[in-house]
């Protein structure tokens, strides 16, 4: 008996045998369409004179007018500048910390001590931004905060930190490092754990000191991980932790604190200029997309493994 497989036959066979996979997949796909792809359709209001009453489809097209408005607006330009500056500073100060921590962890010989310290430094990652902002506000409070108390001990004047534009970025970046440096070190610790132990053993036999081994073995071995993480960070350069900024900034510090996303939040959700804010969001998203794609291409070239 000759058996024939036509295309229709095969699809029918496939569905008969595998229909359950599609049932399992459906909720995920529906969710992505409803909650992530439908808003992409709504992005068209960036090119429209959007009004709530006429809706997305009913509002008239106006081309690039919102983008003209944005780039003519001092506030938006300031937000753009702040975004770049804050993310650069975060990269500069925040990126090396986890690597240094991981290297330090690696040199701790006592396992109990190591575990305890790790437990402590991972913890802030699990604390919400609201709580951290609460701690920051309390600690930097002009009258009761511990920072001003200590300044007072040393005879300095009290400073109302959170109203001073020049203090906003150090506080924001510092609290970010406090929250994430420990947890981010996990990636590098994993990379260090992957280094072949016989490299260290032969170095010990050759009489290398731990300091030398760190520089000659550990750091070169984890360099690929460092570079990949750096590329990822550059890809996400525009992703400033704006929730934290919303909680910490005030009109007095806008000049150094206001970033694109906080600008969008205020213009869109507080003032109600949805179309203009959507245009700013679209600009942000497109730049971010280009950055991520570039980062991925570079990483592919460098490591021959794509990031996703």
């Amino acid at each position: 008996m000759e058996h024939r497989t036509t295309r229709l036959n095969r699809i029918a066979d496939h569905l008969r045998a595998n229909w359950q996979i599609y049932v399992l997949l459906a909720p995920t796909i529906i969710w992505f369409i409803v909650f992530l792809y439908r808003p992409m359709y709504g992005l068209q209001i960036a090119f429209k004179d959007y009004s709530v009453f006429r809706g997305i489809d009913g509002s008239p097209w106006i081309g690039f007018e919102h983008f003209h408005t944005l780039f003519g607006s001092d506030q938006f330009i300031r937000a753009l500048k702040n975004t770049v500056i804050i993310s650069m500073l975060t990269l500069l100060f925040g990126f090396p910390m986890p690597i240094i921590l991981a290297l330090m962890f690696n040199e701790v010989l006592n396992q109990t001590y190591k575990k305890t310290v790790q437990t402590v430094v991972y913890l802030p990652h699990f604390i919400s931004t609201v709580i951290i902002s609460g701690i920051v506000i309390t600690a930097f409070s002009p009258s009761s905060g511990v920072v001003n108390t200590v300044l007072d001990w040393f005879g300095f004047d009290k400073i109302y930190f959170l109203t001073k534009p020049e203090w906003f970025r150090p506080i924001f970046i510092g609290s970010g490092i406090w929250q994430e440096a420990g947890f981010s070190s996990i990636v590098f610790l994993a990379a260090i754990a992957g280094v072949n132990p016989s490299l260290y053993e032969s170095a010990v036999v050759d009489g290398a000191s731990r300091w030398q081994m760190m520089w000659k073995i550990t750091i070169p071995s984890i360099m690929p991980t460092i570079i990949i993480m750096l590329i990822i960070r550059i890809g996400n350069l525009l992703e400033v932790g704006f929730e934290m900024i919303i909680l910490l900034y005030q009109p007095a510090t806008y000049q150094t604190a206001d970033v694109v996303n906080t600008y969008i939040y205020r213009q869109g959700l507080q003032v109600g200029q949805y179309d203009l804010a959507a245009a700013a969001g679209l600009f942000n998203a497109v730049v971010a997309f280009v950055l991520v794609m570039t980062a991925n291409t570079i990483s592919k070239r460098y490591s021959r493994t794509s990031l996703w």
Binding site: M1, E2, H3, T5, D13, A17
Partner: protein, 366 residues
């Protein structure tokens, strides 16, 4: 028990064909071993029989049913996987019972079947353990138990012993053979290890590059390899294969190996082929270091001796190529300088075509 019949079975991945139209008939209760180097299509063939790979062309019949489009679970076959695929979260008895549970067999019946199988495989004391707490051999047994418990028409084995160490492998090999004798279930067994194939099989199927090279009983393949590939694959150490030229004297055909004449068997096919390129096949077992009747002598330079106990492997060079011989030691250590030549009787020599690699005088081709 059912027969398994493959007719012109083809497997393609897209446009890439990996199995090129295999014909194979496996009789009921037979133990057939598919053997070949990795990538030869033996596993793919087994997985097509199991229903884990779609059949791209040809017909698969198990018993009297065409199985091409039947789901694996409805083929009444059971498979033992290379990595056993034991569920780490289930105990031994739950692992064995898994298939019966899925099929909603009654509880009492499951308990009875599991107890039976555990008895057969000597697992009764381990039923409550997790796979992680078992030795490699025990895990192997659980994997077989899971196959046996369903009383399938056909057993499929996908390199089931390759994760075991050498000693356990020998032991489990014997156990599989015993089990087959006892249960008499049609079995298809895939391995790349020719020793396993030789010891287990009723018939061996040697595969290479998606084609069947030769089918036969183990002794058949050993004595009458159809080509140089099978000759090199079956037997350990493998048959020595030396390039030579065909010549004649008044007694019959000779192989000219770099000026040394070696008497060949007087096969009719070797007539009238003066100067033809041939490959001379000589099994290490057939080489002798002591004079024997009616033998050609092959001068060798001895390179190294591996003593195995009752016998030794002599690594030598013949015509600039490595050449291995096996010799009895009679309990005495051989000395290198003792051996300057090897002898072999003409009837033990295999002759292959230098171009195609096919055997001259093979019963299947004559």
């Amino acid at each position: 028990m059912s027969s398994v019949v493959l007719e012109k079975i083809v497997k393609k991945y897209g446009a890439f064909e990996v199995v090129h139209g295999i014909d194979l008939e496996i009789a009921a209760k037979e133990f057939v071993v598919l053997v070949g180097p990795s990538g030869c299509g033996k596993s793919t063939t087994l997985r097509m029989i199991a229903g884990l790979e779609e059949i791209s062309g040809g017909t698969l019949t198990i018993g009297d049913r065409v199985m091409n489009r039947v789901a694996p679970k409805d083929r009444d076959v059971a498979m033992v996987f290379q990595n056993y695929a034991l569920y780490p979260h289930l105990s031994v008895s739950e692992n064995i019972a898994f298939g019966l549970r899925i099929r909603k067999v009654k509880k009492e019946q499951i308990a009875e079947s599991v107890a039976d199988v555990a008895g057969i495989l000597g697992l009764t004391d381990y039923l409550d353990r997790r796979p992680a707490d078992l030795s490699g051999g025990q895990r192997q047994r659980v994997a077989m138990g899971r196959a046996i418990v369903r009383h399938p028409e056909v057993f499929l084995f996908d390199e089931p012993l390759s994760n075991l160490d050498a000693k356990l492998r020998t032991q489990m090999r014997a156990e599989i053979k015993r089990l087959h004798k006892r249960l008499g279930v049609t079995s298809v067994y895939v391995t790349h290890d020719q020793v396993e194939a030789m010891t287990l099989a009723d018939r061996i199927v040697v595969m290479c590059d998606g084609r069947i090279e030769q089918i036969g009983t183990p002794m058949d393949l050993f004595n009458n390899p159809i080509n140089t590939f099978v000759a090199g694959f079956i037997g350990s150490p493998p048959m020595n294969q030396i390039d030579a030229k065909l010549t004649y004297d008044d007694k019959g055909p000779l192989a000219d190996i770099d000026g040394v004449a070696v008497r060949l068997p007087a096969l009719p096919e070797l007539k009238h082929n003066e100067g033809r390129k041939i490959v001379v096949g000589m099994r290490p077992e057939h080489m002798s270091i002591t004079p024997i009747d009616d033998a050609s002598e092959l001068p060798v330079t001895l390179d190294l001796i591996e003593t195995l106990g009752s016998e030794a492997l002599l690594h030598t060079m013949v015509a600039g190529k490595p050449f291995v011989a096996k010799a009895e030691t009679n309990g005495k250590a051989l000395a290198l300088e003792d051996v300057t030549s090897l002898r072999i009787a003409a009837k033990e020599i295999k002759v292959f075509d230098g171009e195609t690699g096919m055997a001259f005088g093979h019963p299947g081709t004559a």
